[in-house]
C-alpha cells in the first residue's frame, strides 16, 4: 500500500484549484442552482434595461415619425436636472459625479448600471449559495478529499462559481449594449463599449465579496436552502440594520447625515457606486475595498472549512 502522502498532497496546489474550478463551472449548468441563477440574472439584467429603454421607445411611438428619435429623447430626458437630482440621491454623491455619469458617459447605460448594481448582491447569492453545502450534506466531498486538500476544494469551487458568474454577466451586458447600440442608437460605439466594459468591471468587483460571503456561509451550513436563505438575509438585513443604526444616531446625537456615511462603508454595498466614479483613485480604492472584503470572507470560510466535519 502506498503512503497516504502519495495520493493526498498536503499543500495548496494551483493546478488542483484550476481543475476543480473548471469542473465546478461545467457542472454548474447541470445543477438546479446554476440554471436558476442564469435565468434570474438574465431576466433581472434585461428587465432593468427594459425599465429605461421601453418607456423611451413608447415615447417615440407617441410622438410619431416626425417627433424626436429614441436617441434624442434619451439624451434630453436623461440629461435633465430632475434625473441628475435622482442620480445624486441614489449614489449619495455631488453634482460632479451625476454630470460624469449622465453627460460625460452614455446616460442610458449609466442609469441601467446604477439599478443593476443594486440587484447584483442579491442575484449573485442565487448562483453562489451551494458551493460546498450540498456536497457536505451528501458526504460527497469525502471522495474528493482522498485526492486533494481542503483548501483546493474550497478555493476551486469559489473560482468555478466566479467564472460561471462572469460568463453570465458578460452575456447579459452584451445583449444590453448591442440593443442600446443598434436599436436605440443613442451613443457612439466606442464610448458605449468602453463604458459598458467599465460597467461590467464594476458589476464583477461588486459580485466578488458576495460570492466569497456565500462560500463562507455555504461551508458553515450543510443545507443548500439554508445557505441561500442566510446569504440573502445577510445581504439584505445588514443594510436594514445599518439604516436603523444611522437613524438612531441621527435622532440621539447632533451628528449630520454626511458624517455618518462611513457606516455603510463597513459592508461591500456602501462601495458599489464608487466603482463607477469619475476619479480613478476613488475607483481604485473601491476595488481595493471589494478585494479586502473578499479576502476577509474567504479567510473566514477557509478557516472553518479546514476544521469542519466533512
Amino acid at each position: 500500500m502506498e503512503p497516504a502522502t502519495a495520493t493526498a498532497p498536503r499543500s495548496w496546489s494551483p493546478q488542483h484549484v484550476c481543475l476543480i474550478a473548471l469542473y465546478s463551472m461545467r457542472f454548474a449548468l447541470r445543477s438546479g442552482g446554476g440554471i436558476m441563477f442564469l435565468l434570474i440574472f438574465l431576466t433581472v439584467g434585461l428587465s432593468v434595461a427594459s425599465l429605461f429603454i421601453t418607456p423611451l421607445e413608447e415615447l417615440v411611438k407617441i410622438d410619431g415619425p416626425d417627433g424626436m428619435s429614441a436617441s434624442e429623447l434619451s439624451i434630453t430626458i436623461l440629461e435633465s436636472d430632475m434625473v441628475a437630482k435622482a442620480v445624486e440621491w441614489i449614489t449619495n454623491s455631488d453634482s460632479v459625479q451625476s454630470e460624469y455619469l449622465l453627460e460625460k458617459k452614455p446616460a442610458l447605460l449609466s442609469a441601467i448600471l446604477l439599478i443593476l448594481l443594486i440587484a447584483v448582491p442579491f442575484t449573485t447569492c442565487f448562483g453562489a449559495f451551494n458551493q460546498t453545502s450540498g456536497d457536505i450534506a451528501s458526504r460527497g466531498l469525502r471522495y474528493l478529499l482522498l485526492r486533494t486538500e481542503r483548501a483546493n476544494i474550497f478555493l476551486g469551487r469559489f473560482v468555478g462559481v466566479l467564472m460561471f458568474t462572469i460568463v453570465s454577466m458578460i452575456g447579459t451586458m452584451l445583449v444590453i449594449i448591442l440593443y442600446v447600440q443598434f436599436k436605440v442608437g443613442a451613443y457612439p460605439g466606442v464610448e458605449l463599449w468602453s463604458w459598458g466594459f467599465q460597467g461590467l468591471t464594476a458589476v464583477f468587483f461588486l459580485s466578488l465579496p458576495y460570492i466569497a460571503l456565500c462560500a463562507w456561509i455555504s461551508c458553515l451550513l450543510d443545507t443548500p436552502f439554508g445557505s441561500l436563505a442566510i446569504c440573502l438575509l445577510i445581504s439584505g438585513f445588514s443594510l436594514v440594520i445599518l439604516y436603523l443604526l444611522k437613524l438612531t444616531l441621527l435622532t440621539s446625537t447632533t451628528a449630520d447625515p454626511e458624517s455618518l456615511a462611513w457606516l455603510f462603508k463597513t459592508v461591500p454595498w456602501g462601495w458599489k457606486y464608487e466603482l463607477l466614479d469619475g476619479t480613478p483613485t476613488v475607483r481604485v480604492v473601491a476595488i481595493l475595498a471589494m478585494l479586502g472584503f473578499t479576502a476577509a470572507f474567504l479567510f473566514l470560510g477557509l478557516r472553518h472549512f479546514q476544521k469542519r466535519d466533512l
Binding site: 435565468l39 427594459s50 421601453t54
Partner: protein
C-alpha cells in the same frame, strides 16, 4: 448515461416547465373565455371594438388567433416535456423540449412579421425557450435517453 440519476438541473427545468406551462395555459384559456363572454354579453360589439383597436395598432385578427394557438400549443409542449424530463425520456423530454424552443422562436418571428414591436420584452420572452433548446441538446443530451 442509461437509467442514471436525474441531474438537479433537469428537475429544475421540469419544475419551471410546469410553472410556465400552467401559467401559459391558464392565461391563454382565460383570455379566450373572457373574449367569448364579452362578445356574447354585448352581442358582438366587444369583438368589433377589439378588431378596431387591433387595426389601429397595426395587427390583424388572424395574427391574434395564430399567437393564441401558439401560446396554447407551447403551454401543452412545456407540460409534456416537463414530464419527459422527470422520466428522462428522449421523445417526451428532449424532442418535445426542442419543439417547444423552436415553436417559441417561430412564434416570436411571426409576431414581428405580423407587426408586433421587437423590444427587450421579446428578448426576455426568448430567454427560457433558448435556454431549453441549448440545454436539452447539449448539457442534458446524454441524460434524456430512455
Amino acid at each position: 448515461m442509461a437509467e442514471g440519476k436525474r441531474p438537479g438541473g433537469l428537475t429544475a427545468l421540469a419544475v419551471l416547465n410546469f410553472v410556465f406551462g400552467g401559467l401559459g395555459a391558464i392565461g391563454a384559456l382565460g383570455m379566450l373565455a373572457l373574449f367569448g363572454a364579452a362578445n356574447a354579453a354585448t352581442d358582438g360589439a366587444a369583438g368589433e371594438l377589439m378588431s378596431e383597436g387591433m387595426s389601429e395598432a397595426g395587427l390583424s385578427g388572424g395574427m391574434l388567433m395564430v399567437t393564441m394557438v401558439l401560446a396554447v400549443v407551447s403551454s401543452i409542449l412545456l407540460i409534456i416535456s416537463g414530464v419527459g424530463y422527470i422520466k428522462l425520456k428522449r421523445g417526451l423530454g428532449r424532442n418535445m423540449g426542442s419543439l417547444y424552443g423552436i415553436l417559441a422562436l417561430v412564434g416570436t418571428a411571426i409576431g414581428i412579421v405580423g407587426g408586433q414591436p421587437f423590444g427587450l420584452s421579446s428578448i426576455i420572452g426568448l430567454i427560457y425557450p433558448l435556454l431549453t433548446l441549448i440545454l436539452v441538446n447539449t448539457t442534458f443530451k446524454e441524460d434524456l435517453v430512455n
